[in-house]
Amino acid sequence: MAAVRTSSEVALNRIAIVAVLVATLIFLAPIYWIASTAFKPKELAVSVPPTVLFQPEVTPFIRLFTKRVQMQKTVDPQVYEAAPWWEKRIYDGGERVLKVGKDVQLSQYPDRFMNSLIVAIVSTVLAVGMGTFTAYGFSRFKIAGEADLLFFILSTRMLPPVVVAIPMFLMYRMVGLNDSHIGLIILYIAFNLSFSVWLMKGFMDEIPKEYEEAALVDGYTRMQAFFKIVLPEAATGIAATAVFCFITAWNEYAFALIMTNRRAQTAPPFIPSQIGSGLPDWTTIAAGTFLFLLPVAIFTFLLRNHLLRGVTFGAIRK
């Protein structure tokens, strides 16, 4: 850009920047729509014409987390006065909250969200752990048929989930792992392991061999050198790999749909199943979607400098 710029080039540049801004708004519009629907009063979610600006409210989130029924008659003013603010909102909407004793009955959403967290975190820790060791092995030692082994590892990642799910479903049924956290965790480790090996190998290759060699000369064993020299150097890479694995496990749908139905069901198959029949309550669905997408959005910003590397399995580094 150091070249002399004519006025027409400057104008072209300006047009391009305006076009970028317009494109960004178009790309973000669907995300704005789902996020804003999560804060809309029920009737505005399906209004014609669509409502863009409105007074936001939290009732969709209250409905998301509680079990409710239609009220038969009006609520006793004393009960209403004694109720916490969020329960009043439910009464205002013509419903009442179900309780067991004194405790509010929760909807299935918190359970499904917790399942997603458990499965994603456990599978990430194990996949990144194993992947880090293996990547170090591939990065530092001579291995016969290294290229073929690495291709084999990557190819397991490319298998279509439904193809793997058919035999896994049958095998899990035999050993009783259907609809279990462990079953889903195993599948997600298998799915993420190849990715974590490839990505970590890229990070390991960037750590100079001389660091460990110096440590070995100083009397460290290879294992000590690995834990005390290599791992700290690889910390950023490990963190980036972990976030990618977490997002993949968090987002995964096909395995979860096939392998779980109740106890271990994660959020991705659960959220679309809320639509059901009749007119769905889009504000509640949007609230659930919003909370589910929020961690991914935050992680995307944290990862922004590693995204390219992540989506190309560490092959392209910028």
Binding site: F141, I153, V164, T221, R222, P268, K318
Partner: protein, 301 residues
């Protein structure tokens, strides 16, 4: 193992002799991963290869019979399956072409310096990080016939994008383009920023036109990375399940992965679905092979 390391001790790795040998460590680090992948990916595939030659049905208790190649023969002559492959091919072409055009276009626009470039680039990348199933779900809201914002903005009245047999597949493809153009954009940006600036300066001095510069400098230098994006997206689009499955139930949008899912888990035609899975698997592995070849080529630069 330790004694082996001691006998052929090379002076640089005396340290290794004190702990485990490098060979032991290498095996310890690599073998568990390979075993894990073989047990949970390769073994199941061998298992399902066996079933693909039977008439096994997972929801019935009666014993299965060996039927030889009958499943494969039936599948390859089944018009229904062929139409699923045709639908998938249509979907791959429309969706990947759209992603390449939109993604590369965005990258060309972004490839200049302006305030908040980093923030805008990251915002544009958000769609591809999201769960495809959930994206499919909320695009249903956007596509809603009577009150959806898309029909309102384009003045389409109550056009039913997802329940119209002619438009369902394309509606899913548009969503996929929205979701995955950022991927092509990200790779293209990397390719564009790697083009040496002096080439553009030289072209400017020669008073080369915009089109000439684009076709003679930009495109040839970016094409290896564009090819990577193209192959990868083709493979992923071929495997598409989540987004289409959550968005529509139209038979005209029944991609091969959805067909496979229905055959295996709704009709419980297990033996035949294993055979279909193998046909799909071989096609995916062929594309994977090409992909890794190009990936290694770009990596060497």
């Amino acid at each position: 193992m330790a004694s082996v390391a001691l006998t052929n001790l090379d002076p640089a790795s005396r340290a290794a002799a004190r702990g485990w040998s490098d060979l032991t460590i290498r095996n310890m680090f690599i073998i568990p991963t390979l075993v894990f992948l073989i047990v949970f990916n390769i073994f199941p595939l061998i298992y399902s290869l066996g079933y693909s030659f039977t008439n096994f049905a997972a929801n019935r208790s009666e014993p299965w019979q060996f039927v030889g190649l009958q499943n494969y023969r039936e599948l390859l002559t089944d018009d229904h399956i062929w139409s699923n492959f045709v639908i998938t091919a249509k979907y791959v072409i429309v969706s990947v072409a759209g992603q390449m055009i939109v993604g590369f276009g965005l990258a060309l626009l972004l490839n200049r310096s302006f305030p908040m470039k980093g923030l805008i680039t990251t915002l544009l990348l958000l769609p591809m990080m999201m769960s495809a199933a959930v994206v499919g779900l909320f695009w249903q809201l956007l596509y809603s016939p009577s009150w959806g914002p898309i029909n309102y903005v384009f003045g389409l009245g109550d056009f039913a994008w997802l329940s119209n047999p002619d438009s369902a597949l394309y509606a899913v493809a548009i969503t996929d383009i929205w979701m995955w153009s950022p991927f092509v954009m990200l790779l293209s940006l990397a390719g564009l920023s790697a083009v040496p600036q002096h080439l553009y300066e030289a072209a400017a001095i020669d008073r080369a036109g915009w089109w000439y510069t684009f076709t003679r400098i930009t495109l040839p230098l970016v094409s290896p990375i564009l090819l990577i994006a193209l192959i990868f997206r083709t493979m992923e689009a071929f495997k598409t399940f989540d987004i289409a499955y959550t968005m529509t139930t139209q038979p005209t949008a029944e991609l091969i992965a959805i067909r496979l899912y229905k055959q295996a888990f709704q009709q419980w035609d297990t033996g035949k679905s294993c055979a279909l899975a193998y046909i799909v698997l071989i096609m995916v592995l062929a594309i994977t092979n090409i992909y890794v070849k190009y990936l290694n080529k770009v990596k060497e630069r």
